[in-house]
Symmetry: C2
């Protein structure tokens, strides 16, 4: 997202006070219900605390570092001075859930100096928002701190009780886990790591570590979310849980040598974020993480276009086709050419089928996986030179496909799976993106399935964080949008790089194809966790709910079909896949109409109701249009979603098309039972929608035409 | 070097015998005085032994591996069959010490299979030459060994006694050490590593490890040299010394995770080489390592041109000028531009001075270090993004310099110091080499001063070995020759990549500038060790022997001036620097005449006499000319070199210009005392040259003209 226009008025720069350490302890900043306290304790260790509505959220918690050349860079500080300012501005993202984002905060900067020689300086900057606090460390230009290495970041988040927590294991290489809901005191990831599907690299050495965004709920009903913003040139932060003290501490992903971060002063860390509210909906509505990222420097963003897409993909996930063209790299014929296996999905004729389908249904893009050489032995070998990103398989006629797609008004989406060999991808980056430009590809799905090369580095370490950043920059140079699979989880960096449109970095819908899948509650947790940092390419829209995997016929989706539709609203992404096979959509054209209609870019968003792990109901207004779309989902329990339509324009009559669970629908026994009903509604209505166990509903609401007014009945809740 | 013409006759493929393990034990192969025995012991462990002239050189020594998925890949083998062939061919290198190289060997391949499931296959291939044995492991295509990881290579070299050994510490990152001469039984590198100059990264975890090429001499007078050939896609081999058993074992440089090599079957290791003779001169004359490398696949090599060069370099080494343009990256002016420090060596005017000097003296190239941005904080920060390889400093007018050099017939030599950040160099590789092409640079000196990035990797590990190989390939694509500083030590790979013309990988002349220097024996050891694998960019030719380093006036060269001249013959390189400042050459034009005259490419080479650590005398015949050049050097002891000129054409009169130590010369007290004498000589003469302590002599021998015959006296030894 970028700052198209800024309406910015810096309210006040209150004071720059040079004072002794004693007289300023503690320093307070507050806005609305949120209050921050900063204190330097008797040892000269900086600490902070957070209150919400006069309830303690974070009790005094340590701040600081252990550096490789100074393990005490967290104590012996004196406070040189503090400065404050207030900001209230708004900005327009290139795409997003809303068309305007308010960025209002009170900022406190504390300037610290170590008393002992070499008297190093450390600044800590706090920004207090209505919905929480962000803070980061800044290393000012100074004579005795230039290049340095972070051995450990010592930031703590001391909590007030044994909160209910929605967590996945702290893993250096993946976020593709099922969520566990438990009190803090019982967190232990051992069995989860051990029992997880082997598709992702798993490196979770600390059994008490969890990933962020970490979602918690206190006994007093406070919703607390801890994450980070603007993760650049630094490793991802995990949280180590002290189960006895309810204390979380920063645990950075190490590099190959065990170091955490290589920094240079002047410089800074990412922001550590604490979002807090007594309403879960406020957590989902927060734009704090996005606000803590820098505005983009791209001046032309007109080439960045949200879109839906279909792809030659689910047929490989369900083993109907293969990525690879041959069955083994050594199975060559007498001329040294690969012997085709006859099951290769990315062949020209098959791709044209998808192009035809996309064109016929107003779907903007077609993704094709398995188009390029290297898939015969791509997986699990920790091999550096795997793929060519410019060489199609013999049966993928790249020029003809480009021509054909263009003739149909469809955009092809490039696929660059690296198998984790980031070094080799960087070597090919220039030619890969030149090739995309030449062939007219405007977006690329990248992938990092496998152990990282440089060997010893991790998906979430500083080196890879910088790699993803380099790829985003390179893509921007070529006006290509990216959808990154298997990266570190997002931290709002799409404000700075709006061409970084989506990421995976979580357990997507695909797990229902190649594993036991994810339980119905999964999609009610993801928006509170993984999606806090940015859009997820979750690949919703599966219509054939059972029996899609030939070799494992018992597998099924863990939602109803109506819930698959609702996900297009509840799981925000500007790149949204219609993941199922064309023939499965063709079999249910009435339900598919919702996917045809639902947009991927919005003027406004209302979180109507939400409870992590239980349900979410969201209404969104289509960008530049008066239409609203509502998604409501539940976990394994059926429920009635109560949805006041008060956000609609007063006095305007709308027609609402409700794609809901049919009576008798049930995610397990009867997932495909849906019912489509159309009613007239207005802002005084409250929809009451019965959701099946594992179910949901998707609603399209648009101004009623004269015909609609005659044709449809007024909605009355049943 | 490449195969220009092959005169190849494969003598015989004797047998492919399918036999039981018992009946073929042991298998023998011999040629001349060298005999190899292969045996499979009672545990099914392969072993070999080597004899020279019926003396045992290597007693039975284990072969095999520990793989990460099978620690026993060295035992339980059965011998499936053996095959033999004999080769006697010759080939012409693109450049080198001789114009034709004979490659004659008897080859034995043993095909082994593990008795236990999964019955993996391993081949060991031995090539027996007149001067030694090379062997390598081959992993044939097989169902149960595809991608695999070498945990350890278990190759042993069991020796027969406590040999006198010329060794440097086994270090993962550098070969820039002084040599120690000691019995095997007292090898311990601890104090040497500790006391070494800090300019190079030093990683020597095993106090009993040494680098190869390892030169030894037995009490019986056998000279034994152990190294490797064709190091590609594998880490460098060091040798761990079992001091009690006189046993050496392969110790591979690990990657960041501790693994040694990532391999794929079919594939192979480098060759392990054992050169042995009762004459030290034979070791220097051996082309076995080169022969064990693959012929080049380059079809056009006309662009690869040996040359001498001068450079803006020694003035930085001696602190007269700086590489950096500013004194710190933060010292910018109001416009954000770097503030010049006034001592930047690579400025246009200064470079033109070197171009003028080169043009006036028939020197082909001018190297300029410090021409590109990044030098302000390049060293010691383990920083990934340091240099731009396409951005000159403001005072280096790259286009004007290119124009000026071309107008003078001088070739500019590019400099790409990476500070060890190989990842960033790879990112810039395409643009860097395009830039060179655009600017007309036909060679580049690369450098890797600093800890390697990818962090945790080492200069001599598999990843970096592959990196140097990638750079050589990229350079070849752009018809650029490379001179690699701080790489792994060479292993004859210049046969395959003749554009890889030189490497540093050793303690060069430069150490006399920034450290205590190297003792007089140093150059008598290097040809037996570092140079066994390929040419060294030693940078000889210093004429100002004392007081060249302003801030350390006590420093001096550890040779006489005449010995500096002799090094152009004794230290072979097709890229040979005249390292001193133009003004120092201008002060001694008569001595400089030798550097003007000495070629860098040869038709023939005679090792006249040699003893490691004591003396070396070599005569070489200029490529395509009837002229000979002789270099003779000694260690800290004065001596008389006795040099029969029997290699000269019979009946031809020659004129010999002898650049020798003057009476009273001494490396320490009187290093610049040289004397130039000219005599008539023929093939019946024997030169007897008195070398000072730390001295040497350089002799040019060319057919005498009628004027010469009148002007000069016949040589008579004094």
């Amino acid at each position: 997202m970028i700052l198209k226009k800024i309406s910015c008025y810096i309210l006040l720069v209150i004071l720059v006070s040079r004072v002794s350490a004693q007289s300023v302890n503690p320093v307070q900043v507050s806005i609305g219900k949120v209050k921050l306290d900063f204190v330097l304790d008797a040892n000269g260790t900086p600490a902070y605390a957070v209150q919400y509505n006069q309830q303690q959220v974070i009790t005094p918690s340590r701040l600081g570092f252990s550096l490789t050349d100074d393990s005490t860079f967290y104590k012996g500080f004196e406070l040189l001075h503090t400065s404050r300012r207030a900001v209230n501005e708004s900005w327009q993202p290139v795409w997003g859930e809303v068309n305007t984002i308010r960025n209002q905060y009170e900022e406190l900067t504390v300037v610290l100096r170590q008393r002992k020689a070499p008297n190093r300086l450390l600044n800590i900057v706090f920004r207090v928002f209505e919905e929480g606090v962000g803070f980061r460390y800044e290393f000012p230009l100074q004579p005795n701190l230039k290049y340095f290495i972070v051995a450990d970041e010592l930031t703590q988040f001391n909590l007030t009780g044994d909160h209910k927590t929605f967590w996945i294991p702290g893993d250096y290489d993946t976020n593709e886990y099922l969520y566990t809901t438990s009190p803090l005191s019982t967190i232990d990831n051992t069995s989860i790591v051990k029992s997880s599907t082997d598709i992702a690299v798993r490196t979770a050495p600390d059994r008490y570590a969890v990933q962020t965004p970490l979602m918690m709920k206190s006994k007093e009903g406070l919703y607390i979310n801890i994450h980070e913003a603007a993760l650049i040139n630094y490793p991802a932060m995990q949280l180590h849980v002290d189960r006895a003290r309810f204390s979380l501490s920063s645990s950075l992903v190490p590099d190959a040598t065990g170091n955490k971060a290589y920094l240079h002063a002047p410089g800074n860390t990412p922001w550590r974020t604490i979002i807090v509210s007594d309403k879960a909906a406020d957590v989902l509505a927060s734009k704090m993480i996005l606000n803590l990222n820098e505005p983009t420097t791209l001046t032309n963003t007109s080439w960045i276009k949200p879109m839906k897409f279909v792809g030659v993909w689910w047929e490989m996930q369900t083993a109907k086709a293969t990525w690879n063209y041959s069955n083994f790299p050594d199975s060559t014929d007498a001329n040294g050419k690969l012997i085709p296996n006859g099951t290769h999905g990315a062949n020209t004729a098959n791709v044209k089928k998808y192009i035809d389908f996309a064109a016929a249904n107003g779907i903007g893009g077609v993704l094709v996986e398995g188009w390029n050489t290297g898939w015969e032995d791509w997986f699990g070998n920790w091999k550096e030179n795997v793929f060519s990103f410019t060489t199609p398989y013999p049966d993928f006629d790249v020029r003809e496909i480009t021509r054909y797609a263009a003739s149909k008004g469809v955009t092809m989406i490039m696929h660059n799976e690296t198998s984790g060999s980031a070094t080799d991808y960087e070597r090919q980056l220039d030619t890969a993106y030149r090739f995309m430009s030449l062939m007219g590809y405007t977006s690329v799905k990248t992938g990092y399935v496998g152990k990282i090369i440089p060997r010893g580095e991790h998906h979430d370490g500083q080196w890879m964080v910088n790699h993803y950043d380099r790829v985003a920059r390179k893509a921007a140079e070529h006006q290509v949008a990216i959808d990154v699979h298997e990266p570190m989880r997002p931290t709002g960096q799409h404000r700075t790089w709006p061409n970084w449109m989506a990421s995976e970095a979580g357990r997507g819908n695909e797990y229902n194809a190649f594993s036991i899948g994810s339980p119905p509650e999964h999609e009610t947790i993801l928006p509170f966790t993984r999606l806090m940092g940015g859009p997820m390419d979750y690949t919703p829209g599966i219509f054939k709910m059972k029996g899609y995997t030939g070799y494992a016929p018992e597998r099924q989706m863990h939602t109803t079909l109506a819930k698959q539709l609702a996900l297009y609203v509840t799981m925000y992404s500007p790149l949204q896949m219609a993941a199922d096979l064309p023939e499965n959509y063709a079999a249910k054209p009435d339900a598919f109409q919702f996917i045809r209609d639902v947009p991927v870019d919005w003027d406004d968003t209302k979180i109507i109701e939400a409870e992590p792990g239980d349900y979410i109901s969201i209404a969104r207004k289509e960008k530049g249009k008066p239409n609203w779309f509502i998604g409501t989902i539940t976990d394994e329990n059926n429920r009635t979603a109560v949805l006041p339509l008060s956000f609609l324009d007063k006095g305007q009559q709308y027609v609402a098309v409700i794609y809901g669970d049919a009576p008798g629908a049930d995610w397990k026994s009867n997932p495909e039972a849906y019912r489509i009903e159309t009613f007239l509604v207005d802002s005084n209505n409250t929809l009451r929608l019965k959701l099946a166990a594992g179910g949901g509903a998707a609603v399209q609401v648009k101004p009623a035409s004269p015909t609609d007014l005659k044709q449809f009945k007024k909605y009355t809740s049943k």
